[in-house]
């Protein structure tokens, strides 16, 4: 009820494919049982790195703005965009700074390293412990449902089109069994030639 990470609701999921990654989230923002908005995106991109933030909405906004600032400073210092692996460590250390008064979020990161072309996904707990994964990462109020869906639908080395279908079906079916998630969804498919599809469902 007063658990900060489930006041607003919302979910996100990332998957690894063959030379591609996918990341998706729902669009609901609510206040306990009352649905307030169906346009609250939980995925943010900093160059070619994508960050999904499920959890307390105020912290989702605050963190997305913190990472916008930090990645811009990084870009100016390094004269290049941040890579997914480095960004994951940035997320981790930023969250751990607030070890004893944490942001109530479950972040996930997806992207393709522009130097090595290696796809990368990972997730975190609310204080920044990194969970590297070769297959999929789930987060949010429908994480149980997403685990069930991903564990049964996912297979390795999917092509972008098939990965899109898999992640979409996983997210849609999972959020349909969670009252706090849903109300629309966004799916991003990221390939190395930086082609990215953005698809909305309603």
């Amino acid at each position: 009820m007063s658990d900060p990470s489930s006041i607003n609701g919302g979910s996100a999921v990332a998957m690894m494919g063959k030379d591609c990654v996918a990341i998706a989230c729902d669009l609901r923002l609510g206040s306990q049982s009352l649905g307030l908005a169906n346009n609250f995106e939980k995925i943010f991109n900093f160059g070619h790195v994508f960050l999904g933030l499920a959890g307390l909405a105020t912290d989702v906004t605050t963190l997305s703005e913190i990472f916008r600032m930090k990645t811009n400073l990084y870009k100016m210092k390094e004269e290049r965009l941040i890579e997914p692996e480095s960004f994951a460590n940035l997320v981790s250390s930023t969250l751990y700074e607030r070890r004893f008064g944490p942001y109530f979020v479950s972040p996930i990161v997806a992207g393709i390293n522009s130097k090595t072309d290696k796809p990368f996904i990972c997730g975190f707990d609310l204080i920044g412990c990194i969970d590297y994964a070769k297959d999929f990462i789930v987060a949010g109020t429908s994480s149980d449902q997403l685990f069930g869906m991903c564990e049964s639908l996912y297979e390795p080395n999917l092509e972008p089109e098939d990965l899109f279908e898999t992640i979409s079906q996983a997210l849609l079916s999972a959020t349909d069994r969670d009252a706090l998630s849903g109300w629309g969804a966004v799916v991003y498919i990221i390939t190395k030639d930086k082609v990215l599809f953005l698809i909305y469902f309603f």
Partner: protein, 196 residues
Amino acid sequence: MDIVLGIKVQDSVIVATSKAATRGISILKDTDDKTRALNEHNLMAFTGEAGDTVQFAEYIQANIQLYGMRENFDLPPKAVNHFVRNQLASSIRSRKPYQVNVILAGYDEAKEEPSLSWIDYLGTKVDIPYAAHGYAGFYTFSLLDRHYRSDMSVDEGLKILKLCSEELNKRMPIDFKGLRVKIVDKSGIREIDVGL
């Protein structure tokens, strides 16, 4: 039990707030104004903990006006919204957070478009076509879902507001002494009497 409503129409925003000022079992006033004009084109409506609300609203008002004087440039709605969100988001992690929920109605003169932002005491901000704080949403969102169009005129918007007002008067357990209605558009902020 305070009512704070906002409806964004074609080129303006309608804001309605209840006129009752309640403390415990008494209605202290039936002409309360739960809004503050932040600048020419930005209006903030608020509800929450007694004491915190006006204190916070006037603090924001002062700072937005100070900015306008210093820079000789009024902050546009998007900047105002983010400033207010930031104040509340910092406040929630302080020793004594402001318990204030706000709705920000604005008109962006450069973009020539209205803006409506819903922000709660946690710093949760969403830009939505119609917004309400507290119990009012439970009674009015269904009506707004059914009748709202983004290309409505002010008069059409006021028609829906009337439906909302009737529903609130019918279902709310205590008399909220009617609604004070304000419009924010390109010519600024004005109060109108629509007999609600």
